[in-house]
C-alpha cells in the first residue's frame, strides 16, 4: 500500500511538473513593455515554488513508503517536535515569500504610477457594456466630449451607444469605434469605464488586465512593443453573453495609426 501510494504521488508530481517545464501550455507570447518584467517574475516564482513542490511531494511519497509499519520496524521515535527546526523553516519561508513579494512590487508600481499620464501618450477611453467594447479617441483637441446616460442607445452603436453629447464642442472631433487601434512603441493612456455591470479588459498578449467598474473612471497605461492583432477577452462575469464579449486590439505603426484615425475623423464629418 505504501509503495502504491508513493508511486501514485510521484507520478502525479512528475507528470504535472513535466507540462510546466516543457511549457506545453505557457504564458502567450508577450507584446508589451511589461512582458519582460512580468514573465521574469513569473519564471522566478515558478522556479522557487517548483522546487518546494517537488521536494514536498516527492518527500511525502518517500516518507509514506519508508515509514510504513512492518513486523521488523524499529520502535517509533517518541518525539514532540523540534523547536530549532521549527524556527529554521519558519524563518526560511518568511524570507522566501516576503522577498519574492518585494521583488514583484516594483513591476506592479511601474504600470500604475505616476497617476499623471505621460502627455505624449495616446489617449483611449474604453467603455464596456453588455456585451461589447467601445473605444473613444478624443481627437485633435485632446479632450473627451461629455457623455450622458440619458443619451445612451446601444442599439444604434458607435457614438450613441456610449451616449456622446453632440452639443458639447469637445465632442465634435471624438471618434468612437468598435475596434481598438494603437500605435506601436508609444505609451497608451487608457481610461476604463463601464455603463452597466463590471467588465474586465483583458489582453493576455499585452500583459494587461483591469476591471471596468460602473461609477469609476480607471486610468492605466501600457506600451505595446510589437505590431500585431491581439484578442481582448472579458475577464469579469458580466452576464449571459460574457463568453462572447471579445474584441481585437490592432497594434500598428505610427503612420498607419494616423491614417486610420484621419479616416475615422473624415467619416464622422
Amino acid at each position: 500500500m505504501g509503495l502504491a501510494l508513493m508511486l501514485l504521488i510521484w507520478l502525479i508530481t512528475l507528470v504535472s511538473t513535466y507540462f510546466f517545464v516543457a511549457k506545453t501550455w505557457w504564458l502567450p507570447h508577450g507584446a508589451s513593455a511589461a512582458t519582460n518584467w512580468i514573465d521574469g517574475q513569473f519564471t522566478l516564482t515558478f522556479i522557487i515554488v517548483g522546487i518546494v513542490f517537488l521536494a514536498a511531494q516527492l518527500g511525502l511519497g518517500y516518507i509514506v513508503w519508508r515509514y510504513r509499519e512492518t513486523p521488523s520496524s524499529p520502535p517509533v521515535k517518541y518525539s514532540h517536535g523540534n523547536t530549532r527546526l521549527e524556527i529554521i523553516w519558519t524563518t526560511l519561508t518568511t524570507i522566501l515569500f516576503i522577498g519574492l513579494n518585494l521583488m514583484g512590487s516594483s513591476v506592479w508600481a511601474s504600470q500604475r504610477y505616476p497617476f499623471d499620464p505621460d502627455p505624449s501618450a495616446v489617449q483611449v477611453e474604453v467603455t464596456g457594456m453588455q456585451f461589447a467594447w467601445y473605444f473613444r479617441y478624443p481627437g485633435a483637441d485632446g479632450k473627451y466630449g461629455k457623455t450622458s446616460f440619458k443619451l445612451m442607445d446601444p442599439s444604434a452603436g458607435g457614438e450613441a451607444a456610449v451616449g456622446l453629447d453632440t452639443s458639447d464642442p469637445a465632442s465634435k472631433d471624438d471618434v468612437v469605434t468598435g475596434t481598438m487601434y494603437i500605435p506601436v512603441n508609444r505609451e497608451v493612456d487608457l481610461s476604463l469605464r463601464s455603463v452597466d455591470v463590471i467588465h474586465d479588459f483583458f489582453v493576455p498578449q499585452l500583459r494587461f488586465k483591469q476591471d471596468a467598474v460602473p461609477g469609476l473612471n480607471i486610468h492605466m497605461h501600457f506600451k505595446p512593443t510589437e505590431i500585431g492583432e491581439y484578442e481582448i477577452a472579458c475577464a469579469e462575469l458580466c452576464g449571459l453573453g460574457h463568453y462572447k464579449m471579445h474584441g481585437v486590439v490592432h497594434v500598428v505603426s505610427q503612420e498607419d495609426f494616423d491614417k486610420w484615425l484621419a479616416a475615422r475623423e473624415a467619416e464622422k464629418q
Binding site: 502525479i12 517536535g81 512590487s105 457594456m129 460574457h242
Partner: protein, 576 residues
C-alpha cells in the same frame, strides 16, 4: 461552569424528539452530515452538467435538454454557492464538529442544545430556499457565488436576476444566521464545558480547529449577513449602496451614487476567512489522523496551535488580494499582497509538521490515513499556487482565469473534501457502531486522488495560457478555442471521478447496516471519544465525567504498557 447534564440525563423517547427535532449534539451532527451529503451530490451533478456543456455546448442532454449560456451561468452560481456554504461549511463544522467536539472535551452536550437544534433547522431552511431558486420564473441567478453588483442588484442585468436572485440572497442570509448561532455555541462549549484536566494545551488539534473556525465564523458571517441585507434593499427597496448611475440596454436604472467595490470589500471580508472556515477543520482532522496512524505524537503540537491561530488572524487581513484588478487603490495592493504572503508561513509550518509526524513513524494504511495523506498532498499543491496569485503583478495575467479555479478547487475544495473523507472513515465506527469497508474505501481513494489531480492540475496550464473562467463556451475567442482538447481531457477525468463517488455512497450506506460491528476504540486512538462506548450513550459518558491526565497524542511512549496512552489513563503512566 454550568453543565446542561441535568436536562439530559434521560434520552427522549418519541421518534420526533429523538431523530427530527433532537437536542442531542450527536443526532444534530449526523443531521448536518446528511444535509451536506445531499448538497454535495447536488453540487457535483451541477458540475457534471457544466463540464459536459463546456466541451459540447450544443448537445441536447437527456432529461436536461440543451444548456444555454444563461443556464450554464446559473449552474456555476449554484454549484459554487451550494458547495461553499452547504458542503464545505456545513459538513466539517456542523457535522463532525457537532458530533465530536463535545465528546473530545468530555462534555455531555453542547452548551446550548436548543440553539444547536435551531442552527441545524435554520441551515436546512436555507438549503430549501436556495434549491427553490431553480424552480422560479427566470430560474437561478447568473452572478456567480461572489454575487458582484451591479449584476446581482439589478433585475434587468440578465435572466435569473429576478426572484431567483432574491431567493439566492435570502438563502445566504438565512445560512449566516444559522452559522452565527452555531459559532456562539462552539465557542461557549469549548471555553466552558471542558472536563477536569482538559487544559487548552491538552485539547486535540481537531478541537482547536473547530474552535478557531467558530471564532472566524462569528466575525465573518455577521458581515456577510449585513451585506446581503443591503443588497436585498438595493434590489427591492430603492436604496443604492452598491449601484451607481447606470444604464442597461439603454434603460437607466433608478440607482445612483452607490459603489460596486463596497460589496466586494464586504463580501471578501467574509469570503477570505470563509476559505479557512472550510479548510481549518480539515487541518485538524489531518493532524489527528496522521498522528494516530503513524503511532507517533504530532510533531510540534504548540507550533500547530499557533499556526492555526495566526492563519485565523491573518485570514482577516488579506481580503483585498481578491481585488487587485478591481480598481481599488493600487497602494493597498502592496499591503494586501505582503500580508497574503505572511499567511503562507503558518501554512508551510503545518506541512513541515505533518511530514515530521510521519517521519520515523509506523504508518498504518487504514482508509482514514490514506485520505489524510491525500489531504497533505492536495494542500501542498493547492497552496503553492498561492504565491503566484498573491503577487499583484502576476495576478494581472492570472486573475479570473482557470489558474484561480484550479488553485481554490485543489485547496479549499478537494483538500477540504479529503478532510471530510478522512473524518468520515475515522469517526464512522463511533457514529454508526460499524466499520466501513476498507477495500471499497481504498479503491475510492486511489481513483479520487488521481481523478481530482487530472481535473484540476490542467486548469493551471489553461490559466497561464489565458483561458478566462465563467465562459459558457470557448467558441468565440480564437486563442481559447485552441485549448479545447485539454478541456476535453478534464471532462473525461470529471466523469470518471464523479462516477467513483458512488462507491463512497454505497460503502457508507452498506456499512451503516451491514458493516462488521466496531469496538469502542478500533483505531487504538487516544482522545476521549474512544474512551466511551460505541456508539456513545445519550450523555456521552454514561453518567460519568471523564478526568483528563494526558496530552492528546501520546503514541509510542517509551516504557508504557501499550503503544498509546489514552487521555484518561491514570497519571502514573509515563507521559505528560
Amino acid at each position: 461552569m454550568a453543565t446542561p447534564a441535568t436536562v439530559h440525563s434521560h434520552a427522549p423517547q418519541g421518534f420526533i424528539r429523538k431523530y427530527i427535532f433532537s437536542l442531542d449534539h450527536k443526532v444534530i451532527g449526523i443531521q448536518y452530515f446528511f444535509l451536506a451529503l445531499t448538497a454535495v451530490f447536488v453540487g457535483m451533478f451541477l458540475s457534471l452538467l457544466m463540464r459536459i456543456h463546456l466541451v459540447a455546448p450544443t448537445a441536447v442532454l437527456p432529461l436536461v435538454g440543451e444548456i444555454k449560456p444563461e443556464n450554464y451561468l446559473a449552474l456555476l452560481t449554484m454549484h459554487g454557492t451550494i458547495m461553499v456554504f452547504f458542503v464545505l461549511t456545513t459538513a466539517p463544522q456542523g457535522g463532525f464538529g457537532n458530533y465530536v467536539l463535545p465528546i473530545q472535551i468530555g462534555a455531555p452536550d453542547m452548551a446550548f442544545p436548543v440553539l444547536n437544534m435551531l442552527s441545524f433547522w435554520t441551515t436546512f431552511v436555507g438549503f430549501i430556499v436556495i434549491i427553490a431558486a431553480f424552480f422560479v420564473s427566470g430560474g437561478a441567478p447568473l452572478h456567480g457565488w461572489t454575487g458582484y453588483p451591479p449584476m446581482s442588484a439589478v433585475q434587468s442585468a440578465g435572466p435569473g436576476e429576478g426572484l431567483g436572485a432574491d431567493l439566492w440572497i435570502t438563502s445566504i442570509a438565512i445560512f449566516c444566521i444559522a452559522s452565527l448561532m452555531g459559532a456562539l455555541n462552539f465557542i461557549t462549549t469549548t471555553l466552558d464545558l471542558r472536563a477536569k484536566g482538559m487544559t487548552l494545551m491538552r485539547m486535540p488539534l481537531t478541537v482547536w480547529s473547530w474552535f478557531i473556525t467558530a471564532i472566524l465564523g462569528l466575525l465573518a458571517f455577521g458581515v456577510l449577513l449585513s451585506a446581503g441585507i443591503l443588497l436585498l434593499m438595493d434590489r427591492n427597496m430603492g436604496t443604492s449602496f452598491f449601484v451607481p448611475t447606470s444604464s442597461f440596454s439603454g434603460q437607466m436604472s433608478w440607482h445612483k451614487g452607490g459603489s460596486p467595490l463596497l460589496w466586494q470589500h464586504l463580501f471578501w471580508f467574509f469570503g477570505h476567512p470563509e476559505v479557512y472556515i472550510a479548510i481549518l477543520p480539515g487541518m485538524g482532522v489531518a493532524s489527528q489522523v496522521l498522528s494516530t496512524f503513524s503511532r507517533k505524537p504530532i510533531f510540534g503540537y504548540k507550533a500547530m496551535v499557533y499556526a492555526m491561530l495566526s492563519i485565523g488572524f491573518f485570514g482577516f487581513m488579506v481580503w483585498g488580494h481578491h481585488m487587485f484588478m478591481s480598481g481599488m487603490s493600487p497602494y493597498s495592493a502592496f499591503a494586501f499582497s505582503i500580508l497574503t504572503m505572511c499567511i503562507g508561513v503558518p501554512s508551510a509550518i503545518k506541512t513541515f509538521n505533518w511530514l515530521g509526524t510521519m517521519w520515523n513513524g509506523h504508518i498504518r494504511f487504514h482508509t482514514p490515513m490514506l485520505y489524510a495523506i491525500g489531504f497533505v498532498s492536495l494542500f501542498v499543491s493547492g497552496g503553492l499556487s498561492g504565491p503566484f496569485l498573491a503577487q499583484p503583478v502576476l495576478d494581472i495575467q492570472l486573475h479570473d482565469t482557470y489558474f484561480v479555479v484550479g488553485h481554490f478547487h485543489l485547496i479549499m475544495g478537494v483538500a477540504a473534501i479529503f478532510g471530510i473523507f478522512a473524518a468520515t472513515h475515522y469517526w464512522f465506527p463511533k457514529m454508526f457502531g460499524r466499520m466501513m469497508n476498507e477495500t471499497m474505501g481504498k479503491i475510492h481513494f486511489f481513483i479520487t486522488l488521481a481523478g481530482t489531480y487530472a481535473i484540476f492540475m490542467p486548469m493551471h496550464y489553461l490559466g497561464m495560457a489565458g483561458q478566462t473562467r465563467r465562459y459558457s463556451q470557448f467558441t468565440e475567442v480564437a486563442y481559447q478555442t485552441k485549448l479545447l482538447p485539454l478541456q476535453m481531457f478534464m471532462t473525461y477525468a470529471a466523469v470518471i471521478t464523479i462516477a467513483a463517488q458512488f462507491l463512497f455512497l454505497i460503502n457508507l450506506f452498506w456499512s451503516m447496516f451491514k458493516g462488521p460491528k466496531a469496538s469502542d476504540n478500533p483505531w487504538e486512538s487516544t482522545t476521549l471519544e474512544w474512551t466511551t462506548t460505541t456508539p456513545p450513550p445519550h450523555d456521552n459518558f454514561g453518567g460519568k465525567t471523564p478526568v483528563v491526565n494526558h496530552g492528546p497524542y501520546e503514541y509510542g511512549v517509551p516504557g508504557a504498557a501499550k503503544d498509546y496512552i489514552m487521555q484518561t489513563d491514570p497519571p502514573d503512566n509515563k507521559a505528560h
